[in-house]
Symmetry: C2
Subunit: 234 residues, 2 copies
């Protein structure tokens, strides 16, 4: 099957085409431009470069959240648009799961940390089985780094951190985490649509997909605008 | 420092820009077009998308071989051209080392296998230290898969395979390798200029680079044309 994959959950915009067992193309840009400027040109670029027939996709896989609200909305709108035009299902892959899949088949726990503002991180805890299957030990959620560190100290296993939260939280982690830990190098540390595509194909086989109309991003938290409205109304 | 990284050692063309601790962009195409058609447009694309000043690079990192002779020559010629225009050093990263760096911080041995034709594979054996540093246990070389399997059986540790040789050699490996082993998923299985860039930055710090004039690809074996000429002359 052929999957177009999109990740706009963070500062990074990443797109990929998975065809059966191969990634045909993957393209990531980590730059201050907005996703509304970059995403469609990036998709057009990899489709053109691989001479892919736009009608040949079987599904769209997307990092479905959490993440930047604007980023998720742009990714979701784009995915819905393409999916509706070509009558394709949308596979929503949890953002933190896809990020964890950057690190594969390690004996350590894999813990992505995204800067979620308001002193929280979007995170989750993952491990790999002997045969390389990723297992979710703590589902993606928005918590404080203090709470995450407490949890990891209680699990007493070595940890690999990755994600844009490393820059923000490294000092706090180094001061308070008692277990051995390290940080992923640059080429493994940011969102990759390739990981979204490969996980997306697994989800698809398990029947985990929706129609374009049904798809909604998973924000995990309320937006600033919603919180402010609620505060005004309270 | 800012590095432009190139990998054209296999069927895949991959380019990346590393800026300090971040990959600004990474772009991979795994398609039947020749590298002479794809490489320069891909470099131009990521430079344009990240609004990178062409004069701002500090070095070019390249997967220096082994690999496809034509691929290596195109990559090398392109790197030399850019490096000479902008007076930059070239960092030659062993192709198989960069491929191994796709898998990070695992307890298994990491063994890239590239299809080298003539019943050989370009391969090497790697492991990770506790702190995530990659160590070379067997330097990249061209050997038969039978010889590789014998070596791995004697080492008695679990193995992760990746690379374009998996498709070709999987059956033989599964039949003859006695240790636990698995194959990397699609998003970790092919050359990535991001890995070339990150390893290249380490090499640069260690003073391992040359001038554009000095740079030559490391073919590891003689080309078909050279072998045929030698056979005629013998």
């Amino acid at each position: 099957m052929k999957i177009l994959a999109i990740d706009t959950s963070g500062l990074v915009a990443s797109v990929a085409i998975l065809d059966g067992d191969s990634i045909l193309s993957e393209y990531m840009v980590n730059y201050k431009k907005t996703h509304s400027e970059t995403l469609m040109p990036m998709i057009a670029e990899i489709i053109r470069m691989t001479e892919t027939d736009k009608a040949s996709f079987d599904a769209i896989a997307i990092a479905g959240g959490p993440g930047s609200f604007t980023g998720l909305r742009i990714g979701s709108a784009t995915a819905k648009g393409i999916a509706q035009m070509y009558d394709l299902p949308i596979i929503s892959v949890p953002t933190v799961d896809a990020l964890a899949y950057n690190i594969w088949a390690t004996d350590s726990l894999v813990v992505p940390i995204m800067d979620a503002r308001r002193n929280q991180t979007y995170t989750g805890i993952y491990e790999y089985s002997e045969d390389g299957e990723m297992r979710v030990l703590m589902e993606q959620c928005a918590i404080s780094v203090e709470e995450l560190v407490e949890k990891l100290n209680s699990m007493d296993r070595s940890v690999i951190f990755l994600g844009d939260g490393v820059v923000r939280f490294k000092e706090l982690i180094d001061e308070t985490l008692k277990v051995a830990h390290k940080y992923a190098p640059a080429h493994h540390s940011r969102q990759r649509a390739g990981a979204v595509a490969v996980l997306g194909a697994k989800y698809y086989e398990q029947g985990k997909y929706t129609t374009a109309e049904e798809h909604e991003p998973e924000y995990l938290r309320k937006s600033q605008a919603e919180r402010e409205r609620e505060e005004r109304n309270a």
